[in-house]
Symmetry: C2
Subunit: 200 residues, 2 copies
Amino acid sequence: MYKVYGMSASGNCHKVRMVLEALRLPYSWTEIDPGRGQTRTPEFLAMNPNGKVPVLELEPGVWMSESNAIMFYLADGSTLVPSDRMQRARALEWMFFEQYSHEPFIAVARYLHRFHPDPPSQRALAESKREGGDRALTVMEHHLEKRDFLVGPRYTVADIALYAYTHVAGEGGFDLGRYPAVRAWLERVEAQPGYVRMPS
Amino acid sequence: MYKVYGMSASGNCHKVRMVLEALRLPYSWTEIDPGRGQTRTPEFLAMNPNGKVPVLELEPGVWMSESNAIMFYLADGSTLVPSDRMQRARALEWMFFEQYSHEPFIAVARYLHRFHPDPPSQRALAESKREGGDRALTVMEHHLEKRDFLVGPRYTVADIALYAYTHVAGEGGFDLGRYPAVRAWLERVEAQPGYVRMPS
């Protein structure tokens, strides 16, 4: 059985939960709080020397990190990862977009607003994430105006990767009201079999 | 024939050149200078709405962005992308590590030192990238102490992804002398068939 070491309120960790639930794979979840140093212990660093959640334990002593790689591993061979070479690369294109051009703005703004010990002290930094986050949401909006899902006709790991922090972008101060195609897509994701809400 | 729109001195763009050369695929290269606004023109944004190089044109009107997705697309089916499910995910694990935990420190420090119009004004910002960059190099060093390549016994797209900015980390003020296993691995990458040096 898979073991996940993660923080439930983290979008990166929630991606792994969404894939496990969508594929109905059995797993256990161990809650890890990076804010309390739990990703810096020798035990955790043995699992991921980069000191980040989520970590997937495949079997005792075999671990994988990087949320999007974990998703690709778990879903490879299922409909969540396209079998067509071009569509598979398109899914990765969106997943790399997510980690470089979306998460560092939207997830970081959310962290500073909601999880930082002293959010008012972080207002200027959080504000500096606004333009990049809105640019990422605008790229998604234009793409989704003409499509139901990010890649091809089906729900894939790319949708899960982008859903994770987009659906809680409001917690980072972003106004999803400005992105109607994104909001309609969020609802389509939430209607998928096995969809699981982020624990609050 | 593939067309690349890229900046030769960019590690992200050089990854694409390295894969094309390693696979001996014919391509043309159009030099794009983001510093002169060439990624913000309507023509460029039609190719990549996110306004970043590299862009690969697969055929007229069909474009792909995100360096690591482009590499995966070009090399899928070759030995540069492992066919084994676990090793394929391991390659992606390193490629996501590269985009999130390596490039934003090492490539950005190099940019600020070497390409910014006024490097001295950027010294504090460049210095703030030091700790994260050294952490990424340390993760690589420990991994490569026991291995020839990042994933399994062979050279893969993961090696190219990490080589791109690691081999020029010195230009960002990082001391590769502290990372002997990384340096030995850089030499192994440079000994691969079809290896091409970054244009100076």
